[in-house]
Subunit: 391 residues, 2 copies
């Protein structure tokens, strides 16, 4: 059932939430965990040492992007994805499906696969389940993903059902395709925001020989309430004994809701992309650093944060100046901060689950945020540990 | 003569070259030294911790840029330039003269000062010797520079002579203007590539109450042979007992020639700007990382370099990929490398001067470079210490 080198052990349960230790050939990860995205072999703006410092244990690579540039053969010639990207921990590659459907120009889908043109130079290329698994094997990730068709969030029911049928057929071909000897393969459940379709697809795929199961096709344009409804309905029904991965989700609130629904793994470009757009994640909500209110504010981004950005003298005023001056250092510091925040958020979530306080932790944390709002000048505030003392 | 808090002590001489210890209120610097440029309060792409790791002790700020954005009053409100930019060591600010003449739109020079429009938003502003010193005092640098007129490298003799006369008059006004209690002030010698004009200007300014003297108006478009000729003629004639600063020069060869001519301090954007353009400085010459020859090269940039870039697994192939993919990490790693290289180059220069081997070190180092060429795939090569063993 499980690929050699991988074990998944649930260590605590609290309602539908759980903590687990997932051991891979490149090391262990405590879940629930957020996995930063290193699209082209680098988590944008950061070194691998910095990424590791945020508590991240698994980094993603994008098969579509790496296959187009520098090409999987170049990655192999340079020692494989771990050596290439200087990441010694576990790596996960997606299948390329999502990017083919969202980025490629002039794509044509048939039941065998997808023909498309590169978004970089227009060169033609074809991706099939077998080709996706082959590329992922060449890249050498620890966890490969099945090649799926991911319809947009506003797709009609018939389109979603057709994508499910293709994804189901492709899933079986992915499982048959040769992959790395110590490379796990996760299946992807589609079905949009329709609980009955999600259940049907899960029933079809759940019994196959996957190392883990993912929910795809969420956070793709549907409303957040719909996403949470699907998570609450389907999350707890995903197989118990294998990792559950919610793809493309990284907003702090969605991570907390996902963890309560029993999700183990998350990935998203949100923390690093938002950072490059001047948006910081904090224990009080989002901070838009370019606002003029920060111009002469000598306080750190978040006095509750113990990351380098908030404890080594980067003032909001200086960060604002760096951002409006388009200095690279702004992207660096905010990216590091946002990943550190998500790392701390999920570490606190794991502690809360272990202590049977998951619901309360999520509730109090959400109350502390005024998402969409901006926080005012930094003020003294309760420590994240406060709610634990009140147990 | 000297501003309180500063001492300059020559520690070794070798021909016209010398080593010295320059003590400032924010710490000591061993010279000859290269000073990275932090135009807007950040050495582009790097943290202050990284800059310090390259051996740099003094960082520059640009008065023109900082006065326009975020404004000197904002820097003061955020604790002054050191606190703002998180640099605990000495800082030097230029006078704004060079930028006013090279960047500002629609500038009008008169004998009192310069009226110009900001290159950012076209807002009108005026800079005079007194205003330049006032802004530098507000910024709070350790070393302020006199406000000078810097003519372009192709200016005719009459233009240069007029600029010298203005610079001389402005120099005296800068010395009279109130500045920080522990803020040194350096004068600037102009005169283009004309040795007689340089000597005349030095004679006019050299006896004034400066803490140090700089050569301005070099590396501004004149030929490199002309620059070296002026350096050889004028460098050794600069006052012995005070620091000598060659402004805007950062090419490795020019640093070595400058050191042989008795220069103590250098600054330039070259190492960081070249880095962002994919050009690395190495002990074998310049490496243009975007060349396709590096595509599958697993070797480090420079096996003789002991910096993080060359000792922690960044392959040329990976760096090329980062660069062509426009990843921020490329600018980061190459900037750090180039500053590390210049730091190591000047540390080796100081050792050579102390051992009486300055000429030989420079000759052998220049022979090892094929500047303008590219180095081939990395090969084993002699250590930088080899020439020392042959003493």
């Amino acid at each position: 059932m499980s690929t050699p080198g991988f074990t998944f052990t649930v260590t605590a349960r609290d309602g539908n939430a759980r903590t687990a230790t997932y051991i891979t050939p490149h090391g262990a990860v405590e879940t629930p965990a957020f996995m930063p995205v290193g699209t082209l072999g680098t988590v944008k703006a950061l070194t691998s040492e910095e990424v590791a410092s945020t508590g991240a244990r698994v980094v993603l690579g994008n098969t579509y992007h790496l296959a187009l540039r520098p090409g999987e053969d170049t990655v192999r010639a340079l020692g494989g994805l771990h050596r290439f990207a200087r990441w010694t921990g576990p790596m996960l590659t997606d299948s390329g499906g999502f990017q083919v459907f969202s980025l490629a120009a002039r794509r044509t889908v048939d039941d065998d696969g997808v023909t498309f043109r590169s978004h970089i130079d227009g060169a033609p290329r074809r991706l099939t389940p077998e080709e996706s698994v082959r590329i992922q094997a060449v890249l050498g990730s620890d966890i490969a993903m099945a090649f799926d068709e991911c319809p947009p969030g506003d797709a009609d029911r018939a389109t979603i059902e057709r994508a499910m049928r293709r994804t189901s057929a492709w899933a079986r071909r992915c499982l048959e395709a040769p992959r790395g000897a110590s490379q796990a393969l996760f299946g992807i459940v589609q079905g949009g925001i329709h609980e009955d379709l999600r259940r049907a697809h899960l029933e079809d795929l759940g019994g196959l020989d996957w190392d883990g199961l993912a929910l795809g096709g969420l956070s793709v344009g549907e409303g957040v309430e719909d996403m949470h409804r699907v998570l609450r309905a389907i999350g707890p029904e995903l197989p118990e004994e294998r990792p559950r991965y919610l793809m493309g989700v990284g907003a702090p609130r969605d991570l907390l809701v996902g963890a309560l629904c029993g999700i183990d793994l998350f990935d998203c470009v949100l923390p690093t992309r938002n950072a490059r757009n001047g948006q910081a994640l904090t224990w009080r909500g989002r901070v838009n650093i370019k606002q003029s209110r920060h111009r002469r504010d000598d306080a750190p981004l978040d006095p509750r944060c113990d990351g380098a950005c908030c404890t080594t003298g980067y003032s909001r005023g200086y960060l604002r100046h760096l951002f409006v001056s388009k200095e690279i250092l702004a992207s660096r510091v905010l990216s590091l901060h946002n990943l550190h925040f998500l790392g701390a958020l999920l570490a606190a979530t794991r502690r809360a689950i272990a202590e049977g306080l998951a619901e309360r932790f999520v509730e109090e944390t959400l109350q502390g945020w005024r998402e969409g709002d901006e926080v005012g000048p930094a003020v003294p505030m309760t420590r994240p540990e406060r709610w634990r003392a009140e147990k």
